[in-house]
């Protein structure tokens, strides 16, 4: 138990410290790198609670894909973040409001489960004990068996969002030379090369 507490405080401390560095670092690329460190430690915290599947998915999806794109964009765009920072105080009230709402929600969730513990037990599908079913299987049960239609609809929403993004950015330009891969592959020596006998001193 002592070891687990030690790791909890280690992950939690690094997560909070690097989250603080995300908003205080001067260089935006450093901010993103600290964000990645925060994700990493959050994955560690997931591991400590026994949610190993969520921890790995957090790494694969957020750190391995989303944060790479973040870093990609931040590195490519030459945004003058120093100028943005001077306006930071203008946005402070909105940020504070969001923070207060989040804190209130957290208080409701934690307070609710301590005041009436029976609420926590009213989950629609009781998750079996860890000894019977690993949490990968339990998540699979919930997502793909009990709530498969909702899962499909969520996928559809993402599909619509993706099509929207493509429609917004797709431009058919006519003056661009495109490759036709199948035409390139279909080329044979017969269609591509012709052998010409050139007489000396005459050329073609």
């Amino acid at each position: 138990m002592g070891l687990q507490a030690l790791f909890f405080y280690l992950f939690a401390f690094i997560a909070i410290a690097s989250a603080f560095m995300v908003i205080s670092a001067r260089n935006p690329v450093h901010s993103v790198l600290f964000l990645i460190l925060t994700f990493f430690n959050a994955a560690g915290l997931f591991l400590l609670t026994g949610a190993e599947f969520l921890a790995m998915i957090l790494l694969v999806v957020y750190v391995g894909a989303v944060a790479v794109l973040f870093l990609f964009v931040v590195m490519m765009l030459d945004v003058d973040f120093a100028a943005l920072r001077t306006k930071a105080l203008e946005y402070a009230p909105v940020g504070a409001l969001i923070g207060i709402i989040l804190a209130l929600e957290l208080i409701f969730v934690i307070g609710g489960s301590t005041i009436s513990p029976e609420i926590a037990k009213k989950a629609a599908v009781p998750i079996p004990a860890l000894t019977e079913r690993s949490n990968t299987q339990a998540l699979g049960d919930v997502l793909y068996t009990h709530y498969v239609y909702f899962f499909q609809i969520a996928g559809l929403v993402l599909l619509v969002a993706m099509i929207g993004a493509i429609v917004l950015t797709l431009k058919h330009r006519t003056n661009v030379k495109r490759q036709n891969i199948s035409a390139q592959v279909a080329r044979t020596p017969e269609t591509a090369v012709s052998i010409v006998k050139v007489k000396p001193g005459q050329g073609i």
């Binding site: 070891l3 260089n27 690329v29 450093h30 790198l33 990645i36 190993e52 599947f53 790995m56 998915i57 790494l59 694969v60 750190v63 391995g64 894909a65 790479v68 794109l69 870093l71 990609f72 590195m75 490519m76 690993s134 990968t136 490759q179 891969i181």
Partner: protein, 347 residues
Amino acid sequence: MEQFFFTYVLPALIIVGQSLLLLVALLLFIAYILLADRKIWAAVQMRRGPNVVGPWGLFQSFADLLKFVLKEPVIPAGANKGVFLLAPLVAVTLALATWAVIPLNAGWVIANINVGILYVFAISSLEVYGIIMGGWASNSKYPFLGALRSAAQMVSYEVSIGFVIVTVLLTVGSLNLSDIVMSQADGLGTKLGLPPSLIDWNWLALFPVFIIFFISALAETNRPPFDLPEAESELVAGFMVEYGSTPYMMFMLGEYAAIVLMCALTTILFLGGWLPPVDVWFLNWVPGIIWFLLKASMVFFMFGLVKAFVPRYRYDQLMRLGWKVFLPLSLFFLIVTAFVLKLTGWA
């Protein structure tokens, strides 16, 4: 005090000892894989390859190591110093960290975790950070271009690798790497009434997926023909242009550790891990680790041959192959596998 020793100190010492043993063995293996790579390349071009240091050049990698370590590390004036030095460390640490879950033999694994394959996938998807950080922190044009290329490339090919892994998982029903190997003890051959042999392994039943995985593994580890991030004919050395001495060596070490990891992963997912090719007594008598190393070396031999034979892809061809060929194909085979398993009741 005695209880404290037996519950905390002793297990920790054992884990540290196992990790050190694995690391030393792995680094030795990488040293010779590097030499093999150069020798294979040389043999294809009808050269001799490194043959001066030691008999047949066997100590070449160690001479290179000394050379790298004894040189002065140069940090460019405009570089972001912290990130510049952190990048090779990240590359090598992540590449070595993955080995914690790789089973080399029945029970020979440091951390036999439930989600082993996901862990490997997660950590290998992080390896791109070493390259991006190195390219960005160098504060120079070519490294930056190399970093951008590798970011796009590795993210693209991860998608098809992910689908291939899911296809294998469907046939196995477990995320544990040891379970994946053991599930290959019976398969196609035993269903036909043959004794357990190499046709039971996943490579035959999932042959198209195996090919997709092999090619995607080349792209994921930035091996030729997909070495666009360090394409020397256009980007000098890509993201490593500004690196020299020990930091450069660490990048190379990370790269080769990732390559050997992909060879080991191919062995585990498709070539039956430590299982002997035919179930007869004298082959069963050979330790599983020998089979594992043989298979991994064979996969690396194919990596080496591809490097020597195949010309480098153009970047748009690389992207087309990843998104328009491998992604639909691997998705198609995933669905086909799921249907076959469901309809035949083999799952």
